[in-house]
Symmetry: C2
């Protein structure tokens, strides 16, 4: 049993958190739909899967957005790096599928 089970105040907070988490995952799903397209496109036109300069610019920008909403910029950077690693994995998969197709 959860330590806070039966606590209505906590249940209210948790319901808000659960709604946000579902929205976060849905948004990430949208994001990966786009990055899958990017992976296919990059493989087709011969652009490298990773773009370190673009990633550096994204990190700088999102650290600023994070600070503006009261998040620790270091935390936002860690999250974004995890997303980048997943995108890179997908781009490389797209590339090997592309090679497999000739």
């Amino acid at each position: 049993m959860s330590a806070g089970a039966g606590d209505e105040t906590l249940a209210g907070y948790r319901s808000g958190i659960d709604d946000i988490d579902a929205s976060l995952v849905a948004l990430l799903g949208e994001r990966f739909k786009i990055t899958k397209q990017v992976g296919i496109y990059k493989a087709r036109v011969g652009l490298p899967a990773a773009d370190p300069e673009r990633e550096a610019a994204q990190i700088v920008r999102l650290r600023e957005v994070a600070a503006s909403v009261g998040l620790d910029p270091a935390f936002s950077e860690k999250l974004l790096r995890l997303v980048f690693a997943e995108v890179r994995r997908e781009h490389e998969l797209a590339r090997s599928d592309d090679n497999a197709d000739g």
Copy 2:
């Protein structure tokens, strides 16, 4: 210079990604506003900062949401664990502030 700079197709994709990232960070900001309240509340009523059973249930639920939107559930779990670690850090800060105040 970014490898894809000047490529309009890529620029279109990237603009969509940037919008989603700004929304993700804004939502995370909202999430941490709630978890800060939870941290203060838990410290006040003497509940432990971490709740492993609640976390386990959240992970199971969000792995399902992730799969339903085409995300790798393992990736979603990694992200969520990073968020939990940050929440725990904040809860423990709230607790030590509370102790400092008597």
